[in-house]
């Protein structure tokens, strides 16, 4: 008798459920405990994940304000989407913000990680302090950063003023908004990525560095020919995490410049635009079409990330 590790049967073997040939018709039901153990996730996903996602797809081809009956309108939502300048602007804002925040974040994190690795003392303190921004409330920090970038009493303007540089209306002009939002994202994510990179650096075998030293390679050379190639999968991990998070930026601009996206709608990200269409304008069909485009955007960027790192991997 083979199969499940279920109770008191003394001969049950946990990992050999497949070995018996006569299993074929044998009661999938005898595994009910396992299916039951897995069921919470799948039931919840079916009800609160799969079903609403499928509805979203249907909804994207309909017109619905939540009150009157739904009407099928074919591709109208998508046609409108492609001609909607605000949608394209929000897409552009999202991608610009993504680059403005991700590139500095990952570069600073890598530098800090290399430095942390060679530091001997206080590393525990550094780690905790660097990580804290990542667990801090986004809303509270968005409020803080709007205070720092404020025109009248912001710290940045106070600094400019004391240097004799004219003050800027940061949150009142398109580029100022982008700088403020991406500064906040950088602040929040550098520490997290630093610690990920640090863990990666520490997993590189020491003898590789010694061999490089024997061969007379300097620190820069060592970094580019040993450290970076070994870190490829870790860098990919951080890039994917940043991509998925960055393309869904919502809280920062929503709290800092409001639902309108601020001056010139410069803080209008795709997810903020989605939120507005759905929950402020009650244009559910159109919002569904935007949601689908966010999904495509995430897929596209993830695929590009994979591509870049795959190609590099083969070339190595």
């Amino acid at each position: 008798m083979t199969g499940t590790a279920i109770a008191p049967a003394p001969s049950a073997e946990p990992l050999t459920g497949r070995s018996s040939g006569q299993r074929s018709g044998r009661r999938v039901w005898s595994y009910w405990r396992f299916y039951l153990a897995l069921s919470p996730f799948y039931v919840l996903f079916a009800v609160f994940g799969l079903y609403p996602m499928l509805s979203t797809i249907v909804l994207a081809f309909q017109r619905w304000d939540g009150l009157s009956p739904r009407r099928f309108t074919g591709l109208d939502n998508f046609r409108f989407l492609f001609e909607d300048p605000t949608f394209w602007l929000s897409l552009q804002n999202t991608v610009v913000l993504f680059f403005m925040s991700t590139i500095p974040t990952l570069c600073i994190a890598l530098v800090l990680a290399v430095m942390l690795q060679s530091a001997v003392r206080f590393t525990g303190v550094y780690r905790i302090a660097y990580f804290i921004p990542n667990v801090t409330s986004l809303v509270a920090m968005a409020i803080f950063f709007s205070a720092v970038f404020s025109t009248n009493f912001g710290l940045i303007n106070a600094g400019l003023r004391s240097l004799g540089i004219p003050e800027q209306d940061w949150l009142g002009q398109p580029w100022g908004i982008k700088i403020a939002v991406s500064t906040m994202i950088v602040w929040q994510w550098v520490g997290y990525n630093t610690l990920i990179y640090l863990a990666g650096l520490q997993s590189i075998p020491k003898d590789q560095y010694e061999a490089a030293k024997v061969d007379g390679a300097g620190p820069v050379r060592t970094f580019f020919s040993i450290t970076l190639p070994q870190m490829r999968s870790i860098v990919l991990f951080t890039v994917i995490i940043s991509t998925i998070g960055g393309l869904q930026t919502f809280t920062e601009p929503q709290v800092m410049v409001g639902n309108s996206g601020g001056t010139g709608q410069s803080g209008m990200t795709v997810v903020l635009y989605f939120y507005r269409a759905a929950f402020l304008d009650n244009d559910y069909g159109y919002a569904a079409a935007i949601a689908l485009s966010i999904f495509m955007l995430v897929l596209l960027f993830t695929a590009i990330n994979w591509r870049i790192f795959r190609v590099r991997g083969d070339a190595k």
Binding site: A5, A7, M53, S137, A147, R161, I234, T238, G258, F274
Partner: protein
């Protein structure tokens, strides 16, 4: 000597970064302890003031702070408890047992991690309306009670840390599936559970978009939504809003500080293994 200098230069940079990371907290504290008039001064005041009590009183007058904090705590604690139970149970099953459809189910699980939340938000709101959960904390807890990330993460831990022989031995001793889970799997998974628990708690505490959508009763909000409304309606009274922000983040920072080491270890190990 050269080594010494390099070491000092290293720590100068690292401390500079540390100051930058910690600065917002200090500055929030300074703004929260001064009056709004002080904040508007030039040059700015860099010292702590004595207005903190007043500011706290204003926050409590303008927003149901303790109610919101209780709501947030209820949501975060119950979500965390449910996630720990459901995720570890499913992860243990995936890691240590074979049954028809196991691989297919696991691939589905992985695929769900790629789906952005907005994809479900609109119909989910209708579902909540149908269930009569709009405005209720249930709308936040139930959908979050089990998640793919936690199952994936715990499964890796169980695979590496529990030997198959241990599970077999427990079974031979007459331990049922649930008892093996409870007496063998759970005790050995404490570090992983600690990480997943804090991760879930932090994420739940800071969650903003879905509570903003589904909590429609202005007297029954979570802390993040209440804070954002305080900012929107009383934005001019900066010292009060900053006090609110401070009050909203302190509990979480305490939780984090207590478990920081375990949490950081867990958060970074996951990336290395993946």
């Amino acid at each position: 000597m050269r080594y010494r200098l390099r070491g000092i230069a290293l720590h100068v940079v690292l401390v500079f970064a540390l100051v930058l990371f910690m600065f917002p907290f200090a500055w929030t504290l300074i703004m929260a302890s001064n009056s709004t008039a002080d904040i508007y001064r030039f040059p700015p005041k860099f010292t702590f003031g004595d207005q903190f009590d007043d500011n706290v009183r204003h926050v409590l007058e303008n927003v149901a702070f303790f109610q919101s904090m209780t709501n947030t705590a209820v949501v975060a604690i119950s979500t965390t408890a449910l996630v720990l139970f459901f995720d570890s149970l499913a992860a243990f099953t995936f890691a240590k047992f074979r049954f028809p459809g196991r691989n297919a189910l696991f691939v589905i699980l992985l695929a769900t991690m790629l789906l952005p939340a907005q994809l479900a938000a609109v119909p989910q709101f209708q579902t909540m309306a149908l269930l009569g959960w709009v405005g209720s904390l249930k709308a936040l807890i139930v959908p979050a009670a089990a998640n793919a990330f936690g199952i994936f993460w715990m499964r890796q831990y169980f695979q590496n840390s529990i030997h198959d022989e241990l599970v077999e031995a427990a079974t031979l001793d007459g331990c049922g599936f649930l008892r093996t889970y409870w007496h063998v799997a759970l005790p050995s998974a404490r570090p992983a559970l600690a990480f997943l628990g804090i991760f879930t708690f932090v994420a739940s505490w800071n969650d903003y978009m879905w509570p903003l959508i589904v909590l429609t009763n202005p007297d029954h909000l979570t802390l993040q939504v209440a804070l954002s409304q305080l900012n929107r309606s009383h934005g001019v009274d900066y010292s009060m809003v900053m006090t609110g922000a401070l009050m909203a983040m302190v509990p979480l920072i305490i939780v984090f500080a207590v478990f920081a080491r375990q949490f950081i270890k867990g958060a970074t190990e996951g990336a290395i293994r993946g």
